[in-house]
């Protein structure tokens, strides 16, 4: 088991410096691969549409996921509802590469997340702060992403979550060993993982940005804040020119520290997705508050 978990963390290492794109059909998956995505997230509706249309959002049709898996050579991910371990079993049976236990879908369990350690397939989970990240890792997640606020095209929540994570990590790192148990209690996080963060000054797994990234500048912003890579959901296929924008975001993640290149990359991309102000979203409609 330990070696399987290590292999799953190692796959996330290979995705670093890359962009994972939401796709809803075979054509979009091909566009994403062609643009240089390191993986695709197969789902029926992008978060912006889930937000607009409402209703219960569930795991995608396995047939559609299989079709995408057949057409691309890069890793394929798909989403399961929070706590819906049978959706996860089904996705594992389909033989994809990664499951996102995602707040973008309607949660299936209001208390418990999936026992990810009992699966062979790797999981990525969203987090708003260090405690939440370490709880997910404690359950067996081998990759973390900021929750941000998916489907808004607004990067502010992803920034907030990343900054919170960094502040939390700093606090743990600078604490004296005798303070760690009290911090573990505050954060609601397993003590062994708090000790890991204290000793290493970082999460024990790869951490990506997600939730509201719509432009190359957004992607580079998150990279400069210290994430290992980015997920782009609605931002690409809800924009004027998906191929061009997808390429530009891929390039921006590589050259995130090079403003000259970023300027060039950002030129002439056509309209970005429209976007939503976070304040205008009803508290109950916020995806990030799903899960604990």
């Amino acid at each position: 088991m330990e070696s399987r978990y290590q292999l799953n963390k190692d796959l996330a290492q290979m995705l670093k410096g890359g962009v994972i794109m939401d796709v809803t059909n075979v054509e979009q998956a091909q566009t994403a691969e062609e643009a240089g995505a390191v993986a695709v997230m197969a789902l029926e509706r992008v978060p912006a549409d889930i937000r607009r249309e409402g209703g219960v959002a569930r795991m995608s049709d396995p047939k559609m996921i299989r079709e995408i898996k057949e057409i691309v050579s890069i890793p394929v991910m798909a989403k399961a509802r929070i706590g819906h371990f049978v959706e996860a079993q089904i996705l594992e049976a389909v033989g994809i590469d990664y499951i996102d236990e995602s707040e973008v879908l309607t949660p299936a369990d209001n208390t418990n997340h999936i026992d990810k350690a009992s699966f062979k397939i790797p999981f990525v989970c969203g987090a708003r702060n260090l405690g939440e990240a370490l709880r997910r890792i404690g359950e067996g997640a081998s990759m973390i992403r900021t929750k941000g606020e998916a489907g808004t095209g607004n990067v502010v929540e992803a920034v907030t979550h990343m900054r919170t994570m960094l502040n939390d990590i700093r606090r743990v790192k600078l604490a004296s060993p005798m303070e760690l148990m009290s911090i573990a209690k505050d954060f609601g996080a397993p003590i062994d993982l708090i000790k890991y963060v204290h000793d290493n000054g970082s999460l024990p797994v790869v951490n990506f940005a997600a939730g509201g990234i719509a432009t190359p500048a957004d992607a580079a912003l998150m990279m400069q804040l210290g994430v290992d890579g980015v997920f782009v959901g609605s931002g690409i296929f809800k924009s004027g020119n998906p191929m061009k924008r997808a390429r530009a975001i891929v390039e921006a993640v590589t050259y995130y520290n090079d403003p000259q290149r970023l300027a060039k990359i950002s030129e002439d991309l056509g309209p970005a997705m429209v976007g939503i102000n976070i304040e205008s979203i009803d508290e109950k409609e916020k995806f990030a508050d799903r899960g604990w």
Binding site: L7, N8, Q13, M14, A35, G36, V38, G95, Y255
Partner: protein
């Protein structure tokens, strides 16, 4: 101290830099043509070969890197790096650096559920078995005469050398063993 570049388009770059430090070499990230002139050898890391290939093309690095390798600069490709070095790739016409006389099969063992570890001796590199991590790994289906086979596992070639070029299906940068990085730095 030898200066070894790690191509930093995408993938597991930091892990190689840590290993280089551990074996007493100066590692640096390579993202531009100028930086290629300042190194004694280069590692092409694991990641997604399609993504790394696109970025090399988009930023005009494919040609300069190809020329450096052609002129004899030592290069080592791990996993995706092996695919980028190959002259032939199964089931696709598209190749990248077109440097090594090998035919590679991408995702040769399957998806992530088929990723695995092994222990194996590698010719020239280590007299003892070293740990190997295969992540959605490729293997070498066929190698021309000029290519020296360094290791095989499960009946397929997983490490090979041709002149200044080294290719491995697996990821020595993800294990506690330093012998592969030591070996490469000595070649540089």
């Amino acid at each position: 101290m030898k200066k070894i570049g790690v191509l930093a388009m995408q993938g597991a770059v930091d892990e190689h830099l840590k290993k280089l430090k551990a074996v007493g070499a100066a590692g640096r990230k390579i993202r531009s043509e100028d930086e290629l002139d300042q190194i004694d050898g280069i590692i092409i890391p694991g990641g997604e070969s399609t993504a790394i290939g696109k970025l090399l093309e988009a930023f005009g690095l494919m040609e300069p890197l190809h020329k450096k390798i052609d002129a004899g600069m030592p290069v080592w490709g791990t996993c995706a790096g092996m695919i980028l070095l190959a002259k032939h790739i199964c089931d696709q016409k598209k190749t990248y650096l077109n440097a090594m006389d090998i035919l590679v099969r991408r995702n040769a063992y399957g998806g992530q559920l088929d990723s695995f570890t092994a222990m194996q001796r590698v010719k020239h590199v280590s007299a003892n078995e070293i740990p190997m991590v295969f992540i959605r790994a490729p293997y070498i289906d066929k190698a021309d005469k000029g290519v020296e086979i360094l290791a095989e596992t499960r009946g397929h070639i997983i490490a090979a050398k041709q002149k200044n070029m080294l290719a491995t299906s697996f990821h020595p940068e993800l294990t506690a063993d330093n012998s592969f990085h030591k070996y490469f730095v000595e070649l540089c």
